[in-house]
């Protein structure tokens, strides 16, 4: 199934960029969690295992033809739904939400895998549509497909991850030919839905985060603290940063979760604007190469799959980096490929396995 000639069609440049981002993230985790007199923290080693497992997942996702995977995607979808329900009932509670399955040395977060699965299912759904355009009925069905995992994840509660499913739906439907009129309606509804979501869907702590975003100094010790500190962290980095392990904000913990949600702030502090440009360039390169893969795709399913996977990745990258600069409300959204987190790393690399898969098999039947 992994024919030798396919090897030559692997996008080595993109894979290289992805792994470079992983290494940058790993170095930053090392720097931020290093304990004086003790050495590298266990978090650093866990992340290495996460990357190694992720590479394995990538190779696995690359091995099977994406069309086969898409064909069987409804099983994957049902499997993920089952896991999500299991988590909801028996998952490990951490920080007030039930997101993890305890697997001994490793905790698995099924919601991370829901993104790629949803991309597969939607790619199959829209790819099989022979009508050449997207009808309202299609949108309703696709919406329902996305809504089920989204709702379950929302119940955990993990609004951040739940929301990342929406770009998947929207991107696939958009590329699949959703009429521009409906695109406009979706945009308008999104704007109108904001106040409704404010009233009904958001928890108090979430509202607080958003309202502090609008006026951080109002609550400089509470929720606004992280945002102000994020800006200070990034801004104090300057042109060339404070050097590896030289950041004061991240090292002395003025910036919370500097190895996780705010890893990009800590990175910007230590590596400066030059480092930021390099990292942004790598991310942009990966995204543009992926879009290129979609364009080269042999069939529509491949193109939709690439876009589906890419959508949640891009959304999360942009949101997290904006938040890292203190320019967006603080949300528990990690930075894919850089932030600490095994499940996220494995799921993201598996997703890129699918994208590489589409490009690699652009000549096969």
């Amino acid at each position: 199934m992994f024919e030798r000639r396919l090897y030559h069609h692997v996008d080595w440049a993109m894979l290289g960029a992805i792994l470079m981002i992983c290494v940058i993230g790993l170095a930053q985790i090392y720097s931020t969690t290093y304990v004086d007199g003790v050495g590298a923290s266990s978090i650093f080693y866990t992340q290495i295992y996460g990357i190694l497992l992720g590479v394995v997942a990538l190779v696995v996702a690359l091995s099977f033809d994406y069309r086969t995977l898409a064909d069987k995607s409804h099983y994957l979808y049902l499997g993920i739904i089952a896991l999500l329900i299991y988590v909801l009932l028996f998952g490990v509670v951490r920080g007030g939400s039930r997101r993890w399955i305890d697997l001994g040395p490793l905790n698995l977060q099924p919601s991370e895998f829901a993104k790629a699965t949803l991309a597969l299912v939607l790619a199959k759904f829209f790819g099989e549509s022979r009508r050449g355009t997207v009808t309202r009925a299609d949108l309703v069905i696709a919406g329902a497909i996305a809504a089920v995992p989204l709702f379950i994840i929302y119940l955990q509660p993990d609004l951040g991850t739940a929301v990342t499913l929406l770009p998947v739906l929207f991107a696939v439907a958009f590329v699949a030919g959703m009429p521009m009129r409906i695109v406009g309606i979706v945009a308008v509804v999104a704007v109108l839905a904001a106040p409704i979501a404010w009233n009904f869907a958001l928890q108090d702590y979430q509202k607080e985060r958003i309202s502090t975003f609008l006026n951080p100094s109002e609550d400089a010790r509470g929720a606004g603290y992280q945002q102000i500190q994020a800006r200070i962290t990034v801004g104090s980095g300057g042109w060339d940063g404070k050097n590896f392990r030289g950041g004061t904000q991240g090292q002395l913990r003025f910036l919370p979760v500097a190895h996780n949600d705010f890893i990009f702030s800590a990175f910007a502090e230590e590596q400066g604007f030059i480092g930021v440009i390099v990292a942004l360039g790598l991310y942009l390169f990966v995204i543009l190469r992926s879009i290129e893969s979609a364009r080269l795709s042999k069939d529509r399913t491949g193109a939709y799959l690439v876009l589906g996977v890419l959508a949640s990745f891009t959304f999360q990258v942009i949101y997290n980096i904006t938040m890292s600069a203190g320019l967006a409300p603080v949300k528990g959204l990690t930075l894919p490929l850089m932030s600490y987190g095994g499940s996220s790393m494995i799921a993201t690399l598996a997703g890129f396995g699918l994208i590489l898969n589409v490009r690699m098999r652009r000549f096969t039947n």
């Binding site: 958009f174 990034v234 801004g235 904000q249 002395l252 604007f273 440009i277 879009i291 193109a303 876009l307």
Partner: protein, 642 residues
């Protein structure tokens, strides 16, 4: 399953839209980071630095105070303060609630203390417990994870001698108030002298606080020290006080069983050997006891009686009248006046204290016997302004100029003064009561000490002072003695007669016999300060005010070339002669020390000791006072201390 052409075209078009969108957003992000990291970099760097760098004050130990012989009087010890750092707390109310229960201190007071500092930067510690007990330190230490906002610091603290020895002389220290921050330019929260020597010599004593720059993490824990500027200890100061004499005086009061004041000095230099005011307080526990000290309106332990109490000098004032009379030529040492037990002035008969009269007495014997008629007559011949003139020359008016704060002026009336304050002319009849130190004459113990020292010093008046030398880092530098405050040339006979009379007071048939020290030729004069006129006394009977008279004993020794002179003021002790034993004990101690003999000890009063037999006190105010004098006597609030 190739993609149809129109599909491919549509997909391509939409991919271009997405591509353009992504590139735009990334460009925008790059610009945002450019603005934050390059354009606004300086501002954020400053903020980041102020996050993790802290400058903490290191309190300098204050200068050590020595007595004139090099014995340490006031030094420093280590104590612990507990403070709140508001920056490290999320919920200040919770912190205050928990701190008050952990430290067992009143919550309202704690809240007040925190409020007082609320405008200071939140990283600056607010001291909530000074000199914490070990229990309190342990309690905070045990909860350092629960209450990381509480901080324990080891700071040098003043250690004063036990029993409140010379408490009013040393004064006390405390946190600078707003006025001090403004006037002497210390930072808020600095510890400065608030009273006494601590206040007057604060600039020398306080030294320079050091500081250290430290790196702290987000919960305020100190990670490492960046640099450290050690504090500079305050200058050492040597007082003129003699510890043993000071102790002898205070022991003497305690032995005698009354409160009062003593100022004893070397008349030649003005160096104060003893400065005592009783009751005293324990400056080591000043913070805790301040409220109760302040509210004790009966004993008023915070009042420094030496400088802040003003009282009628009574018969001790006769020295001034005698000097004035001889200098003004209205009398000579041999002027004899006949005392028949009373005399009539301005149509009013005024009694002497001795019923049958003293007969014909000269100046020396008038002093010895404290004959009122003699001094009424001299006073009448002089007039009040001439009495005032010589009271001033002897140092009994205004302030002595001692190097201690809050000195009250002493008052000797004159015609100009009365015109100015009451608008009325001086009635010659009033001079009669002034002549025996009653009426409006109101003086501090310090000024009486200066008066007697001036007499002992043959008219050369010196300014009393309590600091002998300071060490500004290059060894002891003796303070320049202040120039003589007044060096009027007196007639040689004046002091010869005065000294003979005062010697007789103690060593002949006078009232100061209890101050006699064999071979030391102690000379002195007793006096009684009326607290209230005899009529007023009758009126005020039944109130809880202590209306008993105060007693004075001014003295110097030896008679020729005196080395020690001073005043013993006994508060409500009724008789001036009861202060004489205190002076005696100090004088004995002085000479024993000078000659290297063992210091005398006071014999404990045995239970079988007979109560002091009532002795006719010649200083007691005449039993029947003419109403004119009674009017002239203000219903004296003797301790007019502000």
């Amino acid at each position: 399953m190739a993609v149809p052409v129109e599909d491919r075209r549509r997909i391509s078009a939409r991919l271009v839209i997405i591509q353009t969108g992504v590139i735009t957003v990334f460009a925008a992000l790059a610009i945002c980071f450019w603005v934050l990291q390059v354009i606004q970099h300086e501002d954020y760097l400053r903020l980041a630095d102020s996050n993790y760098q802290r400058t903490l004050a290191l309190r300098a130990p204050r200068g050590v105070l020595f007595d004139r012989n090099g014995k340490v009087l006031v030094e420093n010890r280590d104590s612990y303060t507990i403070s709140i750092i508001r920056e490290n707390t999320k919920d200040l109310d919770r912190t205050i609630r928990m701190a008050s229960s952990v430290l067992r201190i009143d919550r309202a007071e704690l809240q007040q203390e925190v409020n007082r500092h609320r405008r200071e930067p939140s990283y600056r510690p607010i001291v909530i417990v000074e000199d914490a007990t070990l229990d309190q330190v342990a309690a905070v230490d045990a909860r350092q994870y629960e209450l990381p906002e509480l901080q324990i610091d080891e700071v040098p603290t003043r250690k004063y001698p036990a029993d409140g020895l010379a408490a009013h002389l040393f004064g006390y220290v405390g946190e600078a108030d707003e006025a001090q921050v403004r006037d002497i330019g210390v930072p808020p929260g600095a510890i400065v002298g608030k009273h006494g020597v601590e206040k007057v010599y604060n600039a020398l004593l306080m030294g320079a606080d050091g500081e250290k720059n430290v790196v702290v993490n987000s919960v305020g824990r100190e990670i490492r020290v960046l640099d450290r500027q050690p504090p500079v200890e305050g200058r050492r100061v040597q007082l003129t006080i003699d510890y043993d004499l000071q102790k002898a005086a205070e022991d003497g009061f305690r032995h005698a069983g009354f409160n009062g004041a003593a100022l004893i000095m070397d008349p030649r230099t003005g160096e104060v050997l003893v400065h005592a005011s009783l009751p005293a307080y324990d400056p080591n526990k000043f913070q805790e006891t301040y409220a109760s000290l302040l509210s004790d309106t009966k004993l008023r332990p915070l009042i420094n009686r030496v400088l802040q109490g003003t009282y009628s000098p009574g018969s001790t004032f006769k020295i001034v009248v005698a000097a004035a009379a001889m200098e003004e030529g209205v009398a000579t040492p041999d002027t004899r006046i006949h005392c028949s037990g009373g005399a009539t002035f301005f149509g009013r008969y005024t009694r002497c204290h001795l019923k049958g009269g003293h007969g014909s007495v000269d100046m020396r014997h008038a002093l010895e016997k404290s004959c009122n008629v003699y001094f009424y007559t001299l006073g009448n011949r002089l007039g009040v302004d001439k009495i005032y003139k010589w009271a001033e020359k002897l140092g009994l008016t205004g302030r002595t100029g001692i190097d201690l704060p809050n000195e009250q002026p002493s008052l000797v009336p004159n015609t100009e003064w009365k015109k100015k304050t009451t608008g009325e002319p001086w009635y010659p009849g009033e001079t009669i009561s002034v002549a025996i130190g009653q009426g409006q004459v109101s003086v501090t113990p310090a000024s009486l000490a200066v008066m007697i020292a001036t007499v002992a010093n043959n008219g050369k008046r010196v300014t009393p002072r309590v600091v002998k030398a300071v060490d500004e880092g290059k060894g002891w530098v003796t303070m320049k003695p202040p120039a003589a405050a007044d060096a009027t040339q007196f007639k040689p006979d004046t002091f010869r007669a005065l000294v003979e009379g005062l010697w007789m007071v103690v060593n002949a048939a006078g009232t100061g016999g209890r101050g006699r020290v064999e071979g030391r030729d102690v000379s002195g004069k007793t006096g009684t300060a009326q607290v209230i006129s005899n009529e007023g006394k009758a009126r005020a009977r039944g109130t809880d005010r202590d209306l008993r008279d105060h007693g004075w004993f001014v003295f110097f020794a030896p008679r020729d070339n005196p080395e020690i002179a001073g005043v013993i003021f006994g508060e409500h002790n009724l008789h001036g002669y009861l202060g004489a034993p205190i002076a005696k004990h100090v004088i004995e101690t002085y000479f024993a020390k000078k000659e290297g003999k063992p210091l005398p000890e006071l014999k404990p009063k045995g239970p079988d000791a007979a109560p002091t037999p009532p002795v006719e006190d010649p200083d007691s105010p005449p039993a029947i006072e003419p109403t004119a004098v009674a009017e002239a006597l203000p219903v004296a609030g003797p301790e007019v201390a502000q």
